[in-house]
Symmetry: C3
Subunit: 141 residues, 3 copies
């Protein structure tokens, strides 16, 4: 049984949905050392989120961004709007999508499906740099 834990920053991005599988795997090469285990990714922010979704067609990412805007529209009435109209909708979306992912590791690789990729959902209009805590536990090779 072995643990690895590190914090890393994603490239800063403006509002949208982004495929970050390669960025994550490069930041956490320790995945390759584990025969069996789990990777927990935890984003330390409340106006962005992590999810798994389609890894091929960029249209899916744009459609997701739009669909979440319909679920939590800027036009709804909010008490909390100190940082602008995208502030509170960002908090709603972050709880709907979630701040963390737990992904199985098998034979040194993430055991994701063929079409699954790791996404960052950035909900704020202005460019933000987001920090992720990656925790791996498992049996080493």
């Amino acid at each position: 049984m072995s643990w690895s834990q590190k914090t890393f920053s994603l490239s800063p991005r403006t509002r949208g949905s982004y495929l970050i599988t390669d960025e994550v795997v490069q930041a956490v090469p320790e995945i390759a050392n584990y025969k069996v285990g789990l990777l927990n990714l935890f984003i330390q922010h409340t106006s962005a989120a992590l999810t798994l979704n389609e890894n091929w067609d960029p249209d899916v990412r744009d459609d997701m961004t739009d669909a979440l805007d319909r679920v939590a529209p800027e036009s709804a009435p909010y008490r909390h709007d100190d940082e602008g109209p995208d502030d509170m909708p960002a908090h709603v979306k972050s709880s709907l999508i979630g701040a963390s992912l737990t992904i199985p590791i098998k034979d040194g690789r993430l055991a994701t499906g063929t079409w699954q990729g790791i996404w960052l959902c950035e909900f704020r209009r202005y460019r933000h740099q987001r920090k992720i805590v990656a925790t791996i536990q498992g049996e080493r090779k």
Copy 2:
């Protein structure tokens, strides 16, 4: 400390919400060997999801299916529609509900509440067979 990991397939199902607690427990009888631990269930697909919800009244499952259709309707405008009108709404719902569950194990059983069951949410109209990676870690009895 001990790990078990396996991949299994659920029975193929058409669009809807399904109680799969028994199917999961039968596929992962190793749960019974653990005094304390965690079961991670990870669905390797992006147009279906896993969740926990009410385990008694089938109406709850049908109402959930309908409620998610209202949250991500087929009638909304989508760029990505190669596989039909249920394609992109399925991706949206999968990120809203989530691809994985982590459930505590206590004394050889899942420590779910009295009314909690494991659900498969299948978002595609046509019958699909879904694969789940089950990872258990814990202390054996």
Copy 3:
């Protein structure tokens, strides 16, 4: 490698969103014993949920409650309404937000971001007391 697991009850609350970070940390002081690890919080109910979100402005909690009411409104048609109009919307919200959280532990503390707190989302109008299973695994100091 070490495991701790316990079940505790939250203070009973009526419908709303509540910051419960202090209540959780007091219920699980074992967090302080771990150099590196993960805390899993699992709510044993299907009409409440756990999430991470903003820990400062109470308006964010009230806005969240309202926003989720718009996503799963009581006015929609539901088959399942045995326990009143807030019954089925509560089940929908619980699957959208989720029943569990996995939070990294670093040097005896939760590795949450500066503005992140643990929230209970209570979706039933009448006061309910909710039970949480807390499971910690990690390397002790």
